[in-house]
């Protein structure tokens, strides 16, 4: 890995600043990319504050999303409510294991894993030792890619509530958890989008101490 690293020069090491949007390279003093109009910053250290802020709001929204019901189901004269986890357990009890697994992965494993991953990434770039940038970058890619898929459960609730409206025979209504869950997914997406992954790769002290 050391040998691979030596073959690569970063824009920052060459006294240049790169546009993260269009990949054009500018002298380090340039503040705006005239090709695409984006602000330029060699390393966006202040982005970490945004990452933490979005992450905290995302976690806060995730708590009510698990406490309050996601679905209210009414069959004849019985009304029952189920949270995300209860819904998945119910599916599993009916023998629908693959679907229960999809719901559990999309609504529990991915969000929790994402909180941990984003917190770890934001924490690790401040550490003096630079461990395994390759793996951390892969983790970042994964978090960015997978985050949107947590929205599945919100769409499931939307479709069920629109479809199952059969007078008193059966009807399904969304519970308050649907909105807090959707907000949690959006806020964690914003946290991941705010992160500047170039910080993962900075290794020499010079690269890292010049900030701010």
């Amino acid at each position: 890995m050391e040998s691979a690293r030596r073959e690569i020069l970063t824009a920052r090491e060459c006294g240049l600043v790169a546009c993260r949007r269009c990949a054009k390279v500018w002298p380090i003093a340039q503040t705006t990319c005239t090709r695409c109009g984006s602000p330029l910053q060699s390393r966006d250290w202040r982005s970490l504050q945004r990452v933490w802020a979005w992450l905290v709001v995302g976690i806060i929204c995730y708590i009510p999303a698990n406490i309050f019901p996601m679905l209210r189901t009414q069959v004849l004269f019985n009304t029952s409510e189920s949270t995300i986890i209860e819904g998945a357990v119910e599916l599993a009890m009916h023998g629908n294991l693959p679907i229960a697994a999809i719901i559990l992965i999309a609504s529990v494993a991915i969000p929790m894993g994402k909180f941990a991953a984003i917190a770890y990434l934001a924490w690790s770039v401040r550490r003096p030792e630079r461990l395994r940038p390759r793996q951390r970058h892969r983790l970042y890619h994964f978090v960015e890619f997978i985050g949107r898929w947590s929205m599945i459960d919100v769409f499931v609730v939307a479709i069920l509530s629109a479809l199952v409206q059969l007078n008193f025979a059966a009807s399904i209504h969304p519970g308050p958890a649907a909105i807090t869950f959707a907000l949690s997914v959006m806020f964690t997406m914003l946290a991941a989008l705010s992160f500047d992954p170039r910080m993962i790769w900075d290794q020499t002290p010079a690269e890292r101490t010049v900030h701010e």
């Binding site: 269009c22 990949a23 390279v25 109009g37 970058h137 069920l160 479809l163 059966a170 909105i179």
Partner: protein
């Protein structure tokens, strides 16, 4: 494919350099053959990936997205039938399912945006940016701003997630009701494939370069 060593990169004129947006690695930007890709050596981010006739094909796919979405929202999407009771829902009904829940109405706006509006808006913006380029004209006013929006909206376009959500919801309903698939369901399925193809065709770097050179 990136054959410039570190020393050579230093001597490059800035116009010929490209930096990886993900890890800041500096390379000599060389347009590869159509269909080939330039990939960052250390983080494997795709830097340049031009496709043959990309602009024209992207525009065609974008028009298809708009047409299919119009169809998918107008025709019946899904229906259920239980012992004499039946109900039909369109794509918009799914988005508007949260309307009766007071402040949950916000969620209706978001869902409608994610599955209907944002995919359509993105396609319209792409056409606005690429149409002059394909005809060899200078870009339309504010084309850069418009292309920035196109890129910013990308993660919020969730049609493909919605269709998987449908699959999950249907297995839940299948036990208690008979499900009917309307024409809009199949249109939406095709739409998802078209959106994936459209995203695969667009190469940010060549479009930004064209916007810069032709304006």
């Amino acid at each position: 494919m990136l054959d410039a060593g570190p020393r050579e990169v230093l001597d490059l004129p800035l116009e010929e350099a490209i930096a990886c947006p993900q890890c800041d690695a500096l390379y000599h930007a060389r347009l590869p053959e159509d269909g080939q890709r330039v990939v960052c050596h250390r983080c494997h981010t795709v830097l340049i990936a031009p496709k043959r006739n990309a602009y024209l094909r992207t525009i065609a796919l974008s028009v298809t997205v708009v047409i299919l979405m119009a169809g998918a929202t107008m025709f019946p999407f899904l229906g259920v039938n239980v012992s004499g009771f039946s109900n039909r829902a369109s794509v918009l009904d799914a988005a508007l399912a949260f309307l009766d829940g007071g402040w949950m109405a916000t969620l209706s706006v978001l869902v409608a945006g994610f599955i209907v509006l944002i995919p359509v808006i993105r396609s319209a913006l792409v056409i606005y940016v690429l149409l002059p380029l394909v005809r060899g004209r200078p870009p339309l006013p504010r084309a850069r701003q418009v292309f920035r929006w196109t890129e910013d909206l990308r993660p919020w376009s969730m049609a493909e997630i919605f269709i998987i959500g449908c699959a999950v919801a249907l297995t839940k309903v299948a036990d208690l009701a008979r499900v009917e698939f309307g024409p809009a369901f199949w249109m939406f399925g095709v739409l998802v494939v078209v959106i994936v193809l459209q995203d695969g065709l667009m190469d940010k770097w060549t479009i930004w370069k064209a916007l810069e050179e032709r304006s």
